[in-house]
Symmetry: C2
Subunit: 344 residues, 2 copies
Amino acid sequence: MERHKANPLIVPKDVKASNAAYQVLGAFNPAATSFKKEIILLLRIAENCVPEKDYVTIPFYDVNGANTIRIRKDDKDLTFKDTRGYFYKGKDYLSTISHLRIARSLDGVNFLVDHTPFIYPTLPEECFGVEDARIVKIKDLYYINYTAVSGDGYVTILASTEDFISVQKIGIIFPPLNKDVALFPEKIKGQYMALHRPDNKGFGLPSIWLASSPDLINWGNHKCLLRPNGSKEESQKIGGGSSPIKTDSGWLVIYHAKGDDSVYTLKLLLLDIDDPSRIISIGKTPILSPQETYEKDGFFPNVVFTNGTIEKDNGELWIYYGACDETVCLFKTSVFELLLRLNK
Amino acid sequence: MERHKANPLIVPKDVKASNAAYQVLGAFNPAATSFKKEIILLLRIAENCVPEKDYVTIPFYDVNGANTIRIRKDDKDLTFKDTRGYFYKGKDYLSTISHLRIARSLDGVNFLVDHTPFIYPTLPEECFGVEDARIVKIKDLYYINYTAVSGDGYVTILASTEDFISVQKIGIIFPPLNKDVALFPEKIKGQYMALHRPDNKGFGLPSIWLASSPDLINWGNHKCLLRPNGSKEESQKIGGGSSPIKTDSGWLVIYHAKGDDSVYTLKLLLLDIDDPSRIISIGKTPILSPQETYEKDGFFPNVVFTNGTIEKDNGELWIYYGACDETVCLFKTSVFELLLRLNK
């Protein structure tokens, strides 16, 4: 169980901005899959506008694609909400906007990042960007789910690709506010299943839910699976990572927790193979906590977040993770090691 | 278009408490349907504990059914959150708790309220009560959806009955935070459809969404249909009422708006008959606003809220509505009158 010595594997300067008015601030939170001879990551690329003196330049998407709005900093209609957003003439805007970009590798360590976006905002529900994809192969199709953000909140959209060249957006599968959706890689008792993460602020804390579907598009039988456990590591929220991993002991889930001081850690959960609503065991301590400089200092400090893992033929499990909402890193372990860890 | 002169038709003292430790504070927000020769309302009955000197007595449900917790008012672990809730030893409690009760009538005006609950909290997701039902007849089955409340937030549960004697709970069809679900009474292009109301606070304002389903259980293809229009009447949120009414002009929807000073009003919306995601027209002014004493003074002042309508054979439309979260009232109009109103 160790961080790769080449971390961070991908940093913002490795990525070409999606248009001349934007600059890349983050290349992080990758989905991951094996495709032919390659390891493919689907990165979240966060961009903002190239700064200008006396002006705030805000990125947004509309029917014409990427756009920029220039407002004098002393404009009375402009309000700074916080570092993440502005309010201008009755509308909300974000300071950064994300799209999804493919990075390709033969060894899983050295990546070439595509020069153009793979999934780009085209729908009204995506006008503040698309974020944090997951990839799962079901039969011969690769399903991609991602978070779409707009003034209506964040939702989860399902898409599919056969070739990682073209992609088809299927539709919104979880309405607002919902993210951190992880599809199981196969049907269980005739139903597809997914972990999801409704935001129930004002009641409890955001928790991990389970749902089932006959067709991946329509979802029902929602059930709360796991709530934050009251510890300082889980004091704010928890949410699922990439697809649960099938093992002889059950479905292995790597989930993230956000705790005191907004520190993110990665933790383990084991679910019954035939009935994933039954929890077999929960890891007592995180398998990964911010420790290295690249995990502690960055755009959003003290974040390790995973939404992409690759199980190798030799039993190794490669956990790709985003550090500080800025870079891509790799943590190498094995399913066996993680199952041992669950019993500690 | 007029209020019934016998309003309010049902008041809390018409209702027997569900157990000796509780008292009824509200009998309101009825679902409505015709069943054999009767008009059936499914009322929301809100109860709290009979007050005690020196003690706060809090109602809640657990595996043993209705329960009460007695806490000395000076207990240091007790916090009063607001009029709606308490916090005690790490847990949230509500000051009132609701269940659903049938009221039966031959003339639609004089009702007899059942002495026992019809839908009662039995699931963990219902431990803070069940609220605001809708009834729709599809083929020979009556489907009931209602809001279930727990520490995990509010969700929408689907149930069904054939006879209004026994009822089967089917499951959670919309995860938190989601309420105000209105099922269309028939399939459209092979799919069931529903209005629903996610809570997207922190982004926009809670809006009316549309979803489709192959089976009433699994829902997808979510789309935002109508957002609050920026007026003082819709400054807080909007949400669907009972099932959309099929007319020659389109699907007629009566929805509620919550505006300045938390005043609720009822408004109209007309949707394309073959594609309900297409809005034909939106009523400019409310069809009902709090005006009578029983609509302005009560448990929660200035509320008119409908989740139950009956279309009579003679073309009349009887809109049952809750006033002030306390009583049941009736507003008589016709589909024709409402369609005329939409064009004004």
